[in-house]
């Protein structure tokens, strides 16, 4: 079973770190049926920083949850590397999240009873594997937390807490990192720091990151932006800037208004 093997992020057979193939997610049925995702096809290349954008209710969070193995799809399949998530049991999904996926949430990212360092190594501790200490040290020093590792989350600022979360997501060198509005709770300066760090992780460490955001400025840090509306991918943008993102959003709004 591949999920039990140690992560092998650099096998070059396949260029895609994750993909959704014909994915639909439907809540309820009949009259109350809601299509959160409607036949979505998308793939995420290795070493790329992708942002998923869209208005509330567009299905962007649902897409991320499905990609990350936190939610089940109604139709279609999700691939992380070569693994089809629909074939996995609950337990194996958990192990996949632990060993092959990294997470950054908007808030409440850290376990309050554990120190910053313990939070960073948590997935590996849960797996019972010894972290790669040199790598962990490098990640910690890169995010500038070297003198904060023994602090508890409630002794850290919001920005510091989020940097711990990013470190945790990177520390186990997962195949892919999912970030759900990682800067949503931060002021713009702190947010910029985090985003910059995430971009460096992609550029310098070859990490694959998928980030959900509704902030054009945040999205501009990505290599590629995909736009969702009503559960469908409606547009895509490469090498975005805040302005191009904003323009595309505006035009999508106009399109929708005209329809």
């Amino acid at each position: 079973m591949t999920v039990l093997d140690p992560p092998i992020p650099t096998l070059p057979i396949q260029h895609e770190a994750a993909a959704a193939v014909g994915v639909s997610k439907i809540y309820g049925s009949g009259q109350t049926e809601v299509r959160a995702l409607d036949d979505v096809d998308v793939s995420f290349e290795r070493g790329q920083f992708t942002a998923i954008m869209g208005p509330s209710g567009s299905g962007k969070s649902t897409l991320m949850h499905c990609l990350a193995g936190l939610d089940e799809v109604t139709r279609g399949s999700i691939l992380i590397g070569n693994t089809d998530l629909s074939s996995l049991s609950e337990r194996n999904l958990t192990l996949l999240r632990r060993d092959r996926v990294g997470f950054i949430f908007q808030a409440f990212n850290l376990v309050p009873t554990l120190s910053a360092l313990e939070n960073i190594t948590l997935p590996m501790d849960l797996a019972g594997v010894t972290p790669d200490q040199a790598w962990v040290d490098q990640v910690i020093s890169t995010v500038g937390l070297a003198d904060r590792t023994s602090h508890r989350p409630n002794e850290l600022s919001g920005g510091q807490q989020q940097r711990v979360a990013v470190s945790r997501a990177l520390a186990s060198r997962p195949e892919i990192v999912f970030a759900d509005e990682p800067t949503g709770n931060l002021d713009s300066n702190t947010g910029a720091e985090i985003l910059d760090f995430m971009r460096r992780a992609v550029r310098e460490m070859g990490q694959t990151i998928v980030m959900v955001t509704h902030d054009p400025n945040a999205a501009s840090y990505a290599d590629r932006v995909i736009f969702l509306a009503d559960g469908k991918i409606v547009s895509e943008l490469h090498e975005p800037t805040p302005d191009t993102v904003l323009d595309r959003m505006k035009s999508l709004d106009d399109l929708k208004g005209a329809a």
């Binding site: 337990r91 997470f103 949430f105 990212n109 376990v111 009873t113 849960l126």
Partner: protein, 852 residues
Amino acid sequence: MFRLTLRNLAANKARFAMTTFAVVLGVGFVVASFVLSDGLRSTFNDLSEEITDGTDLVVRPVSTFGEPIPLDEGLVAEVNAIDGVDLAVAFTDAPDNSVQPIKSDGSTISVQGPPQLTFSWTGDEELGSFTVVDGEAPDEQREFTMDFDAAEKHDFVLGETYDLVTPIGIEEDFTLVGTTRFGEDNTTVGATLMHVSLDEAQRLWGTDGTVDAISIRLDNGADTAAVTGVIGELIGGSNVEVVDNATITEEEAAEYNDGITIIGNVLLGFAIVSLFVSIFIIYNTFAIVLGQRIREIGLLRAIGANSTQIRRSIIAEAMLVGVVASAIGIAAGIGLAEGLKALFGLLGADLPASPTILAARTVIIASILGIAVTVISAIAPARTAAAITPIQALRDGGDETGNNTGRRLGVGVTGLLAGLGLGAYGLFGSVGSTLGVISVLGLAAVCIFLGVTLAAPTIADPVTRVISWPIRKMFGRAGVLASENAARNPRRTATTGAALMIGLSLVTTGYVVGESLKASLGDLIEESVSADYVITDQNDFGLTQAIADDLTATGTFEAVSGMRYEEASLQSATTDGQIMDLTAMDVGALESLFNVDITQGSVPADSSSDVVLVHSDIAADLGVGVGDTITAEFATGYSTDLNVVAVYEDQTIFDVPIVPDHVFDEAGVGLLDDWVAAVLADGVTLEDAAPSIARVQAQYPQVSIQTSSEFQQSFEEVIDQMLVVINALLALAVIIALIGIANTLALSVHERTREIGLLRAVGMTRRQTRRMVRWEAAIVAMFGAVLGVAVGLVFGWGVVSALPEDDIGGSVAFPMVSILRVALIATAATLLAAWLPARRAGKLNVLDAISH
């Protein structure tokens, strides 16, 4: 506001369900205690009436001290001759279980259960309360009857012959000539009731020419007072009295009621311990639930509710929980009464069938206790909630960690010291009455429990870390998180653990006291007894002196002596008469059998004169020494001067004066030996003696002949049995505490939903999640166990130290293996109890949990 109260309860149903359950168990136990004792009381009151029904007057012997002297049989005819007396019959009965029928398979009916009672047949069904159902009444030698229920139950067949164990040994070939019915419905409450003829009764229990009582039925319309007067004149003297039916009925009932009241009060005591434990559980539930509602309460305050309204609404909530829990508890108690009865049955003490009586008093007391316990528990959380400010609605409601830990520690230590002081006063001071001592010690225990609970949060963090060290090592990150979670809210952990502490500390106390008694007893027997055999009867009614004679006749023994106890009034030159027990024995055998440590005088070579050996305490009381004289007056009126020949120090065996056998014989008191001791002749081993012992044993099956070490063991078994009963009754308090731990964990899991969601998202498996919750529960339980064992060891040490040293006190033993075993069992049970909250934590939907 009241509508809000109801809504809150409805919204938190599950959370309050466990709290309710804790109160239900406590209240149920209280109700069960009352229902059980009321039912038994009613059964025995009916029985007492049945026994005395149809009898108008009873003539019986009385005495101010000692055993009353039986009536002369000739008196029966004289009473019968009195005008107005329709019929007077003689009546005599054997002590409980002194007559036992032997079944055809050679076994006897167990003496552990209801008693086997044998009476003389009065010849009159109304006066005797018995009717022959089948066959005929016993009127010849070697005939007996049995009540039909017992005959059927124990397979005794009408017309067959059986051997009987009797006070004079085994008597063979008694024919079961009839089966009888007691009263209307044969309400024997399980006893085996037998009859023999009066002559046979007098022969079997060696009371020729005397009877125990005369039952009298008057002529219709006879003047009871007048006849009573005539009989009074006839019997004269102060050693006989005539009493009416009502008096006898009342006395019978009172005798049973005393025993029932003791059982009832003991059960009630344990019930109150259980309720006390519930207080901790309820307090915790309210504190946690309110902690989670800080925002909601802040909002209420913001929109205009004042703090009094908040407090009242919470108290009302508690009151409702109390009312519902008490109502369910009262219903459950009725069932629990049957459960308790079954428990007694399992422990070898069968209680008779009794009606279920739910008295108004029971309902009132149970309701008051149930509601009071719930409301009292909610007062502190309600006050905290009332102090919530509107601004807190806007902030995140975090853990309700104590900001006044210092003050709590101060109050806790004060309470602890006050409790210890009170305990010392109760144990070593002179409180006086037993009830007073129990009250003082109870209050001391409450102070200590509350004090420890208040002080415990201070040590909860370090102690749980030490306790959880192996868990951290064994279960990796899940173990570490379990340990961190147990330590993160010390007050919660302390209160939850404290609930378990109470039960376990009492169990530990029991073990320490029990084990210390065993150790002391062992020491005492070793020091004071040189006898090789101790012979006792199973029911404390006494042994025929023939047993000592038969043992002597085997030639195996150097010395054999029976010990008889009888009250006498003792008077010295300087003191007035004091009524106390005397022991009669073969004084010549004293020093072979026992080591009484004679400090003055010596045992006389010739004990045929009237001499007495006195313990130094009594010698001091009476102001006598060797050479002085004590005048003894017995119940029979016999009086003699006893010459003090020795004073001894060791009161293990004899704390009462010892006189030679002939004194009792001449006084006409004490026909039966209370027990017998025997020491083997030189060179004879226990193995050599075995055949002779077996022969004597076969002749007297109701007697237990034990070597001194067996005798010690049987004492130890009694102590062990008592510990089993105490532990069984404390089990409920422990169970309530375990429910409390599970409840707290369920609340904590709810509170930490997001955190658990996060852990699951980053890869904690369900199994690891369950493990984390379960081991947190176990750590809390172990913390409670550590507190409980510590408190219990102190309690036990205190109680043992308070016991008189030369009597039963002396050595303190700490049976740590048994104590640790109980602590481990409690911890294991906690792992089970936490199964539900652990499962819930494992099943949390990750996405829902994260966005909680």
